[in-house]
């Protein structure tokens, strides 16, 4: 009982620290945005990059004291949010003649290196979180850089990039979950599943780009089934709900075929089928949800 209340207190303290950290970040961001034109170059860098470094050092000091561990995480979070902005401001002030790809590559490369190094020395969730975020942004920047000069115009490159990233998240989530580090596995499953299903649906449906690629229409169907299938062994409600949402969208999308087949009757047929499917999905989600809860309790 005492242990429970102590854990609750610690969680509340963490929440307050993170909310405080977010407010500090917003305050700095608002100050800079509002006073950008009247600030000189030194102040611009000092308030962004300087604050990022100062917040990191404050976090390191809190961490070293062992007494204010949760405050340390909040300061590391402020540092993680401000570092890319600070580096971006420094590049803008330096007036370098780089394209956005080179600048992004440098900004996210430095940010990734800093937080990876911190993760190497102190394996904290906040370092892992920012390492994943900066690694993802670095990955997107690198591909953007590779295709920026002398480029063949690639259709759907972004879709494939995001699918690869989402797949990476799912595997990383599974690795963290199986190593008893579940703090980030939930968000990784959610974003991984969302990225893969959304991009696959984008390419395989008429919904977004007005035409579909038949092979991706089939792949999307398979991925939706897989998201239901994996939700139980992975104990992931994200997979379950994402699967349900995309199944409704998918059926809505392919139901447009009924109009081609049945003419005006197609519309009423779509409504009837959609109603039945919604009931079925609701029941399916309810059953799987119960099963996941039972596994988690066991």
């Amino acid at each position: 009982m005492t242990q429970d209340s102590s854990a609750n207190d610690s969680r509340i303290l963490k929440i307050f620290n993170y909310v405080g950290g977010t407010l500090i970040f917003l305050g700095i961001a608002y100050f800079i945005a509002n006073n950008w034109s009247i600030l000189n170059n030194f102040t611009r860098i000092f308030t962004t990059l300087g604050s990022a470094i100062a917040a990191f050092m404050a976090g390191a000091l809190f961490h070293a004291s062992h007494k204010y561990e949760s405050a340390a995480s909040a300061f590391f979070m402020i540092s993680g949010l401000l570092l890319p902005i600070g580096l971006g401001v420094t590049l803008i002030v330096s007036n370098v003649s780089w394209g956005p790809e080179e600048a992004n590559l440098l900004i996210f490369g430095i940010s990734l290196a800093a937080f990876m190094l911190a993760l190497f020395y102190s394996p904290r969730a906040v370092f892992l979180l920012f390492t994943i975020i900066f690694a993802s942004l670095f990955y997107l920047s690198l591909i953007s850089f590779l295709t920026s000069e002398y480029t063949f115009y690639y259709d759907h490159l972004l879709d494939y990039e995001v699918i690869a990233l989402g797949s990476g998240y799912i595997f990383l989530g599974y690795y963290l979950d199986s190593n008893n580090l579940p703090a980030l596995s939930g968000p990784l499953y959610f974003f991984g599943g969302l990225f893969v299903l959304f991009e696959s649906f984008t390419m395989g449906s008429n919904f977004f780009i007005g035409y579909n690629q038949p092979r991706w229409e089939i792949v999307t169907g398979i991925l939706i089934i897989l998201s239901f299938a994996f939700s139980v062994p992975l104990k992931s409600k994200s997979f379950l709900y994402l699967g349900a949402i995309f199944l409704i969208l998918y059926i809505g999308d392919i139901s447009s075929r009924f109009i081609e087949l049945f003419g005006d009757l197609g519309w009423s047929l779509i409504l009837v089928i959609m109603g039945l499917v919604l009931m079925l999905i609701g029941y399916l989600v309810f059953v799987i949800h119960k099963k996941i809860n039972r596994i988690k309790l066991d």
Partner: protein, 186 residues
Amino acid sequence: MPDKKRIFLYIAILIPVAMILVTAFEVYFHQVSLNPKYNFLYILSKSEYGAGCWLKAKSQFYPETSTDKKETPQPDTDACKTTQFYIYDFSKNTSTAITQDEAKQLKLSPAYQTVSPDGFDISYYCTSSEVLDWPLINVNNLDVCVKKNDYTKRLHLRHYTTGVNGYYNFYFISWILNNNASTPGK
């Protein structure tokens, strides 16, 4: 057992790495040199009547085509004062500022011909992957490209500047048919 689980971490890292490698190979094998034979004339205009200044600049080279004067917005003389003519030289990948009189001596392609005689076009849209245009979008908007079929090449044409100068709008005027006149003053 822990080593067995580690394989998922390696897969998580390898998937994006494979995507990067595939993209790099694709870029390498699809890479073509885009070297148009013809340079082009363009203006940079700071005016809020950028499109009007562009039409006004164009009408100096193609007076016969400017019959719709009443329909197009005609800015007063001061509004287009900041308009500056440039030649983009593909052999050096540089822009050179020229005067209006120098521009008038150039042999230009016919009005409304946006494609060069060797099949190139000037495009305002460059990359395939545009997730991250942040943060230098307002500093170096290198968004002007030369295009042929499905291939594009970004031009070193910087028309956004920081500070009091503000940003200048880019407007294509014409392809230059006599390239030896591309470096005025020589």
